[in-house]
């Protein structure tokens, strides 16, 4: 584990379907090994399919277990949010990162 205070931002880009889930999990695993706080920038995400959502939940759980946190920054676009409404993972967007997080049911997060 690197410096605890270090915040690392991971910028996601494009559509995340199952074909990118393994790479995403590996990338977040690497970042979590070095940084306590991880910021996920959603600004350029077009789509998050269920495998990617699960990876984000799992990574947030791991961050929390290590005393850190996974947070969202940037703006989740209206298109991204609208694709997640039917599955209960979002409401109509665009949403700021914290708003997006607050709409993810039971998302692992540290209480302030």
């Amino acid at each position: 584990m690197g410096a605890d205070s270090e915040i690392k931002t991971v910028s996601l880009r494009g559509a995340y379907a199952i074909d990118r889930a393994v790479d995403l999990a590996r990338e977040l695993g690497d970042v979590l090994a070095k940084s306590r706080i991880v910021h996920i920038d959603l600004s350029e995400v077009e789509e998050l399919d269920l495998p990617a959502i699960q990876v984000l939940y799992a990574a947030a759980g791991s961050a929390l277990a290590r005393g850190g946190a996974l947070r969202f920054v940037g703006t989740a676009s209206a298109a991204l949010c609208s694709r997640l409404i039917s599955s209960g993972f979002s409401i109509a967007g665009p949403l700021s990162g914290p708003e997006f997080l607050s709409r993810l049911p039971s998302f692992p997060e540290s209480r302030p």
Binding site: L50, S87, G88
Partner: protein, 721 residues
């Protein structure tokens, strides 16, 4: 079998076949999309099942074979390729023909037999190059780290019988749905979020994801499914429709569907959280009683004492909120729809047309009699008839998207025939206009699109050489503009060759060698009968037949056509069409003893024509500081009789230019029920129809576009004389 049911099935099957065509065209673009393969299979599966049930045995047997082909794609035995799409589209057309046949028990014709042979041959073919890189999912392989829910069950048949059908006349019912995928669900190509999208399309959905099984990242298998859902769905769709959403995950997910009683069913106020939790089996009534004795919030108490999990509580709270929303919506009043045959709708419009005419007579008679009681009734009747007319006309309004979808197939088939790669983009498919107008627009639009494909869009090699993408684009857009709809068809092809058009027009005698015309007018030459600049006659166009038909049809719809083109960049043909053809708001005017109606949508103003201006002979008046050309209806239609000293000019705006129409007097607005002119008057210039007035006399409806286009010519003649 009752003919009414058969007809109803035909209509539904037709919708499914339209849907199937659209799905197949999308599948051609994304052949590996399992959701599309499943959707195509479901559509054909439904047609097959219902065809047999309604006595269309031949179509049922034929569809069964097509279903076999699609099933081989769905199960991964066969990849989706061009051949499958072509075959399926041809089969879809054949099914439509079979369903239209009067006798559905006869033998298969040669085409059907050949197609069925092709289905079987294609279904038995193993896909070359493996299925993973084509349309088929990867074979499932269990992941040890992922959770395994209870053994999968088919969508339960054990749902109580009373829940088998939706409520009478499409009443919405509420269902509680537990969707618990197995861990290997992703590996057979299923995307659960898409299933939930389909579920949401059935009605009001409240999905609550259960994420409690997602492990920490270190233990996560990124390709395994861990999430389950508890959903509340309020829908008028049947239980079978809900089950159909999950039809392809029967072996890889637990799906439990149960109907729940809403408060509206029971006539009770909103359900309490405790009742919902007990109802869902999340808490025992005794434990609930104990928790209720505490003065704190029930949910907190139950979670803290580990009686219910957080997830159960979230689900129950969401259910409570959902039921409240449904109750509120039901309190607002039911909203449902019924299917009515278009013939009945046409009859209704005809009857409303007669009613409008009769109402005009009543109003006139009451004015003549001068009876205050009768006048009051006539005025109230007038208001009611106006509302009835507006409501009836709105019933005939349909989105133009249904027509747009047909053109995707035209573009696909034709671009294949011409060796071109062309994409059709449709914008404004929700734009509504009268169903009769939509039907009559079909052929003109097909002609325009075919022309764009044949003459506008270049071959891939030509496009490459011109630095353009190989794939050409035809863009179809529709939007409202006042009482009209503007439809434009634009392509990114080579544009129109203005010099070639003019040269051809001179060669065909449509234009004198010395004639000077503007670009906009020159482009319209392509709509003249017999005009064609194609060097070779193809099966698509080049016979000079088609574009003149477009112009004639648009004229008969009371619309206008204009063309814009840029060499090397493409062309745009713009059609401006009135929203409806049945009843319009008109302005009634009189010339001598004759009455005319001008569509109110084009009327800009009414001004007095001073005798000094009439005498100048220029056929121009000063209007809002500009010179306005005018056409005298008395001269144009050769109406006999002396013109009065004081006359009126009605200023109309057609195709962005204003023209004055001189009349003796303006009577006022008029609800005009349009009647077609008889065959003898079909070619009468300047008239688009007729209407019957309140006193039984006929008024002629003026084709303002035609009169406006002749104004400059009349002005020139007047100057010359």
């Amino acid at each position: 079998m009752n003919e009414k049911f058969k007809e109803s099935f035909r209509e539904e099957a037709d919708e499914l076949l339209v849907q199937l065509e659209s799905i197949l065209l999308e599948l051609e673009e994304r052949p590996a999309d399992m959701e599309l393969i499943n959707a195509a299979f479901r559509a054909i599966h439904t047609v097959k099942g219902s065809a047999g049930m309604f006595g269309f045995e031949k179509a049922g047997r034929f569809t069964h074979d097509l279903e076999g082909l699609l099933d081989s794609c769905r199960s991964g035995r066969r990849a989706v390729d061009k051949n499958i799409i072509n075959l399926s589209l041809r089969a879809r057309d054949k099914i439509r023909d079979m369903l239209a046949e009067e006798d559905s028990s006869g033998p298969f014709d040669g085409e059907a037999l050949a197609l069925m042979d092709e289905f079987r041959a294609a279904a038995n073919l193993e896909a070359s190059g493996g299925l993973e890189d084509a349309a088929s999912p990867k074979p499932a392989s269990p992941k040890p780290a992922a959770p395994q829910p209870a053994a999968p069950q088919p969508v339960p048949a054990a749902v109580p019988t009373e829940y088998q059908e939706p409520g009478a006349a499409g009443t919405a019912l509420t269902y509680r749905i537990r969707f618990e995928p197995q861990s290997d669900l992703f590996l057979n190509g299923t995307r659960p979020l898409r299933l939930l999208d389909e579920l949401a399309a059935l009605g009001q959905l409240s999905p609550i994801p259960d994420v409690s099984r997602i492990p920490l990242l270190e233990s996560l298998d990124p390709e395994a499914c861990y999430v389950a859902w508890n959903c509340l769905l309020t829908t008028a769709a049947s239980l079978d429709d809900i089950r159909d959403v999950f039809i392809f995950v029967e072996g890889s997910a637990v799906v439990k569907i149960e109907r729940i009683a809403t408060d509206a069913d029971e006539g009770e106020p909103g359900k309490r959280l405790g009742e919902i939790l007990v109802d869902r089996g999340a808490v025992r009534p005794e434990a609930l009683g104990e928790a209720l004795r505490s003065q704190r919030r029930l949910g907190e108490v139950l979670v803290e004492s580990n009686v219910v999990s957080n997830s159960d509580l979230e689900s129950a709270l969401a259910e409570q909120a959902h039921l409240k929303r449904v109750q509120d919506k039901q309190a607002e009043g039911p909203s449902s729809s019924i299917r009515v045959s278009s013939d009945k709708l046409d009859q209704l419009v005809d009857l409303v047309g007669e009613l409008v005419t009769t109402q005009a007579r009543l109003l006139r008679t009451s004015t003549d009699i001068l009876d205050p009681g009768l006048s009051s009734i006539a005025e109230q009747f007038d208001r009611l008839v106006s509302q009835l007319r507006d409501n009836t006309m709105s019933m005939r309004m349909l989105p133009i998207g249904s027509t747009f979808n047909k053109f995707r197939r035209v573009v696909r088939d034709l671009s294949g025939e011409l060796g071109k790669d062309v994409e059709l983009l449709a914008v404004g498919a929700d734009t509504e206009l009268d169903k009769t107008v939509i039907e009559r627009l079909n052929d003109p639009l097909i002609h325009i699109i075919r022309n764009s494909l044949d003459h506008g869009i270049e071959s891939p090699a030509e496009r490459r050489a011109a630095g353009k993408p190989e794939r050409g684009t035809i863009r179809l857009t529709a939007e409202h503009s006042g009482a009209n709809v503007v439809i434009s068809v634009s392509d990114d092809g080579k544009g129109m060759d203005l010099q070639a058009i003019k040269a051809k027009a001179v060669e065909r005698g449509l234009l004198g060698p010395q004639d000077q015309i503007g670009d906009a007018e020159a482009y319209l030459l392509v709509f003249k009968p017999g005009f064609s600049t194609a060097k070779a006659v193809t099966s698509v166009s080049g016979r000079g037949v088609g574009m003149d038909v477009v112009k004639r049809e648009i004229d008969s719809l009371g619309g206008t056509v204009s063309v814009e083109s840029t060499p090397g960049l493409g062309s745009t043909i713009v059609l401006k069409i009135p929203l409806t053809l049945a009843i319009i708001e008109g302005l009634l005017v009189r010339v001598s003893e004759e009455y005319f109606v001008l569509p109110l949508s084009v009327v800009e103003a009414c001004v007095e024509l001073r005798s000094s201006e009439q005498d100048s002979g220029s056929r121009l008046i000063r209007y809002r500081d500009e010179l306005l050309p005018y056409v005298d209806l008395r001269d144009f239609f050769a109406v006999p009789g002396e013109a009065p000293e004081n006359r009126q000019i009605v200023v109309v705006n057609v195709q962005d230019s204003s023209v004055g129409l001189v009349v003796d007097s303006v009577i006022g607005d008029n609800q005009t029920v349009i009647k077609p002119l008889g065959r003898l008057y079909r070619d009468a210039v300047g008239l688009s129809g007729a209407t019957i007035m309140g006193d039984g006399r006929v008024a002629l409806i003026v084709d303002c576009a035609k009169l406006a286009s002749s104004a400059p010519e009349l002005e020139q003649k007047a100057r010359a004389s």
